[in-house]
Symmetry: C2
Subunit: 333 residues, 2 copies
Amino acid sequence: MSVTVKDIARVAGVSTATVSRSLRGLETVSAETREHVLEVAHRLEYVGSPAAAALSTGKAGSVGIITPYVDRWSFGRMLGGIERELRAANVDLLLYCTGDPSDPHPLLPHKRLARRADGFLILSVAAESPDLEEIFKLRMPLTMIGASAPWTSSVRIDDRDAAATAIGHLVERGHQRIGLIYGREKANPIVLEHQRYLGFSDAMERAGLELDDSIQAPGGFTVAGGEEAMVRLLDAEQAPTAVFAFSDEMAFGALQAMRRRGLRPGYDIAIVGFDGHDMSGLLDLSTVSQPLELIGATAARNLLADMNDPSRERKAVVLPTELVPRGSTVRDQ
Amino acid sequence: MSVTVKDIARVAGVSTATVSRSLRGLETVSAETREHVLEVAHRLEYVGSPAAAALSTGKAGSVGIITPYVDRWSFGRMLGGIERELRAANVDLLLYCTGDPSDPHPLLPHKRLARRADGFLILSVAAESPDLEEIFKLRMPLTMIGASAPWTSSVRIDDRDAAATAIGHLVERGHQRIGLIYGREKANPIVLEHQRYLGFSDAMERAGLELDDSIQAPGGFTVAGGEEAMVRLLDAEQAPTAVFAFSDEMAFGALQAMRRRGLRPGYDIAIVGFDGHDMSGLLDLSTVSQPLELIGATAARNLLADMNDPSRERKAVVLPTELVPRGSTVRDQ
DNA sequence: TTGTACGCGTTATCAG
DNA sequence: CTGATAACGCGTACAA
């Protein structure tokens, strides 16, 4: 097999305990002994066994990230922030993708999940999700992103307020018939959806406007889905004069649908998206921008802190969003 | 601490060996014993320790994926394909991000990498990269994506041919002055870049056209970088009539730059990108589309096969690409 | 079909 | 400062 601490101990003429201590840089070893051990280890091309270390210490040396999707733009950005922090702390990153949260999916794989990591980052999964109960029961350090539960740390934006701001922007510009492209079909919506919907209805009510189901459709958070949804809105008996989409990607699809019909964003119909996608500027799409990398990094840092000090008080961080008005809502003055 | 096989054995009145066998569904246990053990395990809420299992069997039960970037669109798509296959096989996914390959980065973390996973998926890293030597030395199952080495499996597209096709398309449409937006600044390019560049120059030569450095610029594979690069091309003493970008995202940036100057894609300047990005249709961008999820899935499946049978012959799979002509290259007939 | 007992590679607890 | 030695939790020859 491969080189172990035993081999090093034998060659270096010390005990395995001393080898272990030297390797980990504990101060309780004389400098010269350590030097020697390190030299031998290097010469033998020693590579430690994380499994053995994990078994011995009880710490896996990694955190798991649980997410319903992996190929969405916003996920990539968050992941970037998370990865950076984790790498800096030298902990491994395990990725678990649960698939669409509205499916009755086969639960978060096995409970094996538990022992794999020392803590978890949970993305956009409703705290009430039955799947999560299993995780909560583990009583491990947890940080939720895009949702929150009283007994875990969380990092998120104020989805409700942000959505209301977007609608407020449209109302200000004189729109009275405002359509909506939301995410999943009804049941078990991911949290942020629910919050954004509340913000939407808050603002509509405040403006004295009626909610009309015929101009609301699900876009599944994809470009193609957004396009389909927009087609439905346009085909409604009375089409909307403005549309709010729960994600920029869906808004892009909506723009596509409009273009196919010769409708000009901002003139014929106003559109505002959500995320602050790289490409929203290019498409001149108004959007509510959120600091995704920062959200990821903040969550990761928080989780690491919780892991190091389990008694640490749980934190619920709320990061700011920003409305970015562009041509898709301001041309039609 | 937590429930172990020993606890189950005691409660169920059998040996730990029988517990282990039952838990893993080995056929060498009587049905009724197994039932009983499973029932007890369930009742005790037993959760196995992957670390212990790994230590005992020598298999980590996971594969590592090594990538220079994590927030690029194409990566998300590949990851989707990879994740699906891995999940189906019930193996964990470890993510290692190396950062920009042209930096002299601190090597692929530690060698600890080795024992963490049973195999690795390596994305877009040059086989000649010094970092990889360390990995190769491990003699573990490896599958490269977007690059290849004779002694490992690999899955890729024919970047050279694909790039040549894109240029051929432009040449066909009468373009003689063709600019290029490539990725990283010179040194240590990721492999696909080199290949695409070769395809570019192949086709240029074949058409009897000259390469002109003044209309070639790096865009760093980002939208913003693509925009900057395009500005440089437009400001060249003699601007190009057509531009080929190594990624759709950079092409999007180029479109942005054109729009800011009132230039119409397909009329004033033709543009063709690379990837088959979700949004290329929306922006009417001609592109060379590659089957990213399939690439990821194929690579993952291949790696799993190599892991199960180390003597398995290494495979080098080349998947097809497709030129998708759109308005950005065909309007100016 | 089932049980015994040892090994996997580290870390941690004691003595010394 | 260093060395035995006992865990850590599971898999698996080997024996019964």
